[in-house]
């Protein structure tokens, strides 16, 4: 079952420029499906349409065209949001509340019964590493702390679907690792997670599937292993050879005292293996593309932003 389904999602913005009203396309008929229990990454440059997509999914914005279904219900549907947790980008919360008061407020709004509220609030603050600072006023919190409190309010009601807009932003490396672990833990508990990010290494480590947006369109989408498709045209050979003689294959780089590595074309693989017969072969691996390479290739756009603007109305 798909937990998130978007079909032909379009969004136009109207921007005033003097007397003219320009219609700017933010999303171009986007199709998106996120299956139950998946960790789905929404990638793209600034302005690619990630946040607009998330806002359309949640009903904070009305799509100009297309339809959205969350957890099987046509959006906008307020009751579905009971089972959805959301962390906005660079969250800003009520400064006059403490961290605990804020998470309690959102727990109450999400319908957590009063008898369980205190326990659930403490548990979510603990999971996000904020229990020690639970009674700190939000106006005194750092950006990273606000991000953690934001995560705590998103998970306090045990949502089936978590939508996180740049969840790692503002976090230090340790914080990012903790959030990555939390996301994996939530998935193990049965949650489906959709998150947008700029940090490709996080997406690479976490996501089952990703979608790369470019100027409001889907530039690439698919399972991580499909996206980073294993290349059949290049292989990486690693071997160990005795003595201090030069590497058996030209172009090899030395990894350790007697250990070497080289990349060869598939057509030359058998020939290379034949040469290495006298050496100790450690590995033969097909080469993988990094997500960064895929991202750069997908987002290198021939269309400029100005081409997306339609005629003034």
């Amino acid at each position: 079952m798909n937990v998130v389904e978007a079909e032909g999602l379009k969004k136009h913005y109207h921007r005033r420029k003097g007397l003219h009203r320009n219609r700017q396309l933010a999303l171009h008929g986007l199709d998106l499906q996120v299956g139950e229990g998946e960790i789905f990454g929404l990638l793209g440059h600034n302005g690619a349409g990630k946040t607009t997509t998330i806002k359309c999914l949640l009903g904070l914005m009305r799509p100009s065209a297309g339809r959205v279904r969350l957890l099987g219900a046509e959006m906008p549907a307020s009751r579905v949001l009971k089972s959805v947790g959301y962390l906005p980008e660079s969250p800003y919360f009520y400064q006059y509340l403490t961290c605990r008061e804020l998470v309690t407020f959102y727990a109450a709004l999400a319908g957590v019964p009063a008898s369980q509220r205190s326990e659930r609030v403490n548990s979510s603050l603990l999971r996000t590493g904020m229990l020690a600072a639970a009674d700190m006023p939000l106006r005194k919190c750092s950006k990273g702390m606000l991000q953690r409190v934001g995560l705590a309010q998103a998970i306090v009601h045990g949502p089936q679907l978590l939508i996180l807009d740049e969840p790692m932003s503002g976090l230090d490396p340790l914080g990012r690792r903790e959030v990555r672990e939390l996301i994996l833990e939530l998935r193990r508990e049965g949650a489906t997670i959709l998150f947008s990010t700029h940090i490709l290494s996080d997406a690479e480590q976490l996501c089952d599937r990703v979608a790369i947006l470019r100027q409001g369109s889907l530039a690439a989408a698919g399972r991580m292993d499909e996206i980073l498709q294993v290349s059949q045209s290049q292989f990486e050979l690693t071997w160990r050879q005795e003595g201090s003689s030069p590497p058996l294959l030209s172009g090899a780089r030395q990894l350790a005292a007697s250990q070497f590595q080289v990349q060869v074309a598939a057509s030359q693989l058998w020939q290379a293996l034949h040469v290495l017969q006298g050496a100790e072969l450690i590995s033969v691996q097909p080469l993988r593309r990094s997500l960064e390479e895929v991202f750069v290739a997908s987002t290198a756009s021939p269309t400029s932003a100005s081409q997306l603007q339609e005629a003034p109305q």
Partner: protein, 257 residues
């Protein structure tokens, strides 16, 4: 209904934790103290002056709270993007508007209650006992609360589309015009019959009539008000505020965040 009470409680918390609100409350204590002191020191000042000046102070402080806090209610949530997390919960936009309104009414209610207590204490000291006509003072405070509720509904409507500064300006203008609606109506009636007079009269009837809530001169002389007036004023404030809140909901339903 639950979301309204949760958002209302949070709005109330926001207001009472604000230094401006505390400052206004302190000012109320100061004004009441001055009035009481003047009453004690001067034989010329009677309970009527005390009631009149206290009701005036309550009106000014109440208008300050309604306009200052009301003008920021919706726009601050949008500008600071706290509305994202709020509306990503099972909260309808109508519940958001009503919650904000209820929160501010609670704040105004607390303010009126606190000032009524001060006035009651001052009156008790002044007339050394309880005057049966004091109930009309309570009615005057209730009417003031109705007046502030109506003003808050206007401010909330302005706050849904205008900047806080503009919302303050519009709200104060509505309060000023609404306080003289009766005179404006008389002026419109005095004109020559025709379309301009009809339009002027229609405008006067569309504007709020805050003067119906002002019974301070009756209260000062302990002249009771008929029960019918209490019902009519309550219905007027309720229906008018309800209409304004409906307009605010319509505006917000069409807004995107």
């Amino acid at each position: 209904m639950k979301a309204i009470s949760i958002i209302g409680g949070n709005t109330f918390k926001e207001a009472v934790r604000d230094r401006v609100f505390l400052g206004l409350l302190l000012f109320a204590v100061f004004v009441s103290g001055i009035t009481l002191l003047a009453g004690q020191m001067s034989f010329g000042i009677d309970s009527g002056v005390l009631i009149n000046s206290s009701l005036l102070a309550m009106t000014l402080i109440g208008v300050g709270v309604a306009v200052f806090f009301g003008a920021q209610l919706v726009l601050k949530e949008i500008e600071r993007r706290t509305i994202y997390t709020l509306l990503a919960h099972p909260v309808a936009r109508s519940e958001f508007v009503l919650g904000k309104y209820v929160g501010l009414l609670l704040t105004l209610g607390l303010n009126c209650f606190f000032m009524a207590l001060l006035l009651w204490a001052a009156l008790s000291l002044q007339i050394r006992g309880f005057h049966p006509g004091e109930w009309v003072v309570l009615t005057a405070i209730y009417f003031l609360f109705l007046e502030l509720s109506l003003l808050t509904a206007w401010t909330l409507l302005f706050s849904s589309f205008a900047t806080p500064v503009m919302a303050v300006v519009f709200s104060l203008a509505i309060f000023a015009v609404g306080s003289f609606t009766e005179d404006l109506r008389a002026l419109a009636r005095a004109g020559h019959a025709g379309l301009p007079r009809t339009l002027a009269l229609a405008t006067c009837y569309l504007l709020p009539d805050f003067s119906v809530f002002n019974i301070s001169s009756r209260a000062a002389h302990f002249i009771t008000v008929p029960a019918r007036m209490i019902w009519l004023n309550s219905a007027y404030a309720l229906l008018y505020s309800g209409f304004l809140l409906l307009m605010t909901i319509v505006v917000l339903e069409h807004r995107e965040f």
